[in-house]
């Protein structure tokens, strides 16, 4: 299977661990991910706050650049995913808007027909296209005993309701259980990390982050597995600031779900980008996986 790959800006550097682990896991299952040539930033939520038509045109350029041979695009970042999917739908549902977007694209010699490419998140590829059976077959290091909090965040789960349950999604839970992890029933799994609120208003952002960390700790999670670079950044990089602000002592590693899956597939930890997270995941992983290796096999 071959999909156009839209990594998004975060995956170039800050979320390189996500990019590396997506590529490494994709290789195991024979998923080819040729990058969209010369893709541009999706504008996050920032362009929509200022100018709707420009926001849509900037996003649509990426859809228009997808290799004509391919009919699916995969974005690992939930914010990029939503922007691409949203513009594709908007162009289909509002032909007048679609026409304006194409008029803007034509200034760059491009055109996009809504519905031409299907926008997917990498989780969907593993969960639906690869599927349970093939994933289970490739597990060489089942993560037995590793308590993982599956964290979906917002923008893959909502506003579109057909991919998973917008209130209580399950696909990431299922995927992680297929690789042997002990998936906790994380009550806040589709709650918000605050997005760019960390830059705008710390008290509000820190409270949202605190709720997510608190719940994971209550459920004795060894780590949180996320599927968006913004969620990872907020929960990981701001964890010590949150601790300072609330006088708490959270120390929960925040990794990408692809890193967790890659670990079970027996891939090298460095290749999966472990070590790039600020709250180190290695100690808990080594403790749990060694304990598992030492335990008698049933």
């Amino acid at each position: 299977m071959k999909y156009a790959y839209y990594p998004g800006c975060s995956l170039e550097c800050n979320a390189a661990a996500y990019d590396w682990s997506v590529r490494a896991v994709a290789e195991v299952f024979g998923l080819e991910l040729p990058e969209i040539d010369d893709w541009n930033c999706c504008g996050a939520t920032e362009y929509f706050s200022q100018d709707e038509l420009t926001a849509c045109a900037v996003i649509a350029r990426n859809l228009a650049l997808v290799d004509p041979q391919l009919d699916q695009v995969v974005a690992p970042c939930a914010a990029c995913y939503l922007n691409l999917a949203k513009v594709d739908r908007l162009m289909a549902e509002d032909p007048k808007m679609g026409q304006k977007i194409n008029e803007a694209l034509s200034a760059g010699g491009l055109h996009y027909t809504p519905g031409r490419v299907r926008v997917r998140h990498f989780l969907e590829l593993l969960h639906s296209d690869v599927g349970e059976e093939r994933i289970r077959q490739k597990v060489v290091r089942p993560l037995t005993g590793l308590r993982v909090a599956p964290y979906y965040g917002c923008q893959w789960v909502r506003p579109f309701k057909e991919i998973d349950n917008p209130e209580y999604p399950m696909k990431l839970d299922e995927l992680l259980s297929w690789v042997g992890a002990e998936v906790i029933d994380y009550p806040v799994k589709a709650h918000c990390c605050g997005g760019h609120m960390t830059q705008i208003s710390e008290p509000q952002a820190f409270e949202l982050i605190r709720r997510l960390l608190y719940s994971a700790e209550e459920y004795k999670a060894d780590l949180i597995a996320c599927m968006c670079p913004m969620c990872q950044l907020n929960l990981d990089a701001y964890q010590s600031r949150v601790n300072g602000y609330f006088n708490t002592n959270f120390k929960i590693p925040i990794v990408y779900f692809t890193q967790v899956v890659g670990l079970a597939l027996g891939l090298d930890m460095h290749r999966l980008g472990f070590g790039k997270e600020i709250v180190a995941a290695r100690p808990v992983l080594e403790a749990k996986l060694q304990a598992q290796a030492a335990a008698p096999q049933s």
């Binding site: 996050a44 200022q50 549902e93 760059g108």
Partner: protein, 190 residues
């Protein structure tokens, strides 16, 4: 469709919001149930919850709505949108209110417009976002004292190879800029 009576009764602002929001006509169906505010992770910090905002829009209270903090506290989590029994595209309406507030100089109580402008200026210039450039410009011009607190965070990101010191520029930046220019003309923005 908008009933003619609405505009005749002077709810010009209602018409403005509807015309600038994809699916905005659903606003006419708001039941004032309050599911939106109850679902909002930041509802408690809003001057007016979305339910109140919608009543104010119907009452044509343009300036009070656009100078409130409501839309700036919205984190685009879409809980309200998926829970609204009347399918009002609430998050999209919040984006519309942000755009109108910025355009009319009514955005108060928030650094969000400055962050958004810094973000999109970098996008327009390079075609990619540039985190270090974004953070340094945004903090320097808006809250320089906060840079001190950000220092250790920036350093720990840098030592883990998670912060690029220079921006990446796309190859066909001219093409992107031509598209942006055209979109602005078509959308009536400067």
């Amino acid at each position: 469709m908008i009933a003619p009576g609405h505009t005749q009764r002077g709810a010009a602002f209602l018409h403005e919001v509807i015309s600038q929001t994809p699916g905005g006509e659903r606003l006419l169906h708001c039941l004032q149930c309050g599911s939106c505010g109850g679902s909002c992770p930041n509802g408690a910090d809003m001057q007016y919850t979305p339910r109140t905002i919608f009543a104010m829009i119907q009452a044509d209270q343009r300036e009070a709505v656009l100078s409130s903090n409501t839309m700036w506290v919205c984190v685009s989590c879409y809980f309200c949108t998926t829970r609204c029994p009347q399918k009002v595209p609430i998050t999209e309406i919040m984006y519309t209110l942000k755009r109108l507030a910025i355009r009319d100089g009514l955005a108060r109580h928030t650094d969000a417009p400055a962050l958004a402008k810094t973000f999109t200026d970098l996008l327009d210039r390079y075609g990619r976002s540039f985190e270090l450039g974004l953070a340094s410009r945004f903090y320097l011009f808006n809250k320089p004292w906060a840079m001190l607190k950000m220092g250790p965070l920036g350093l720990s990101m840098f030592t883990r190879g998670r912060m690029a010191l220079t921006p990446t520029k796309i190859k066909r930046i001219d093409q992107l800029q031509a598209i942006i220019q055209k979109a602005r003309e078509l959308g009536g923005a400067k």
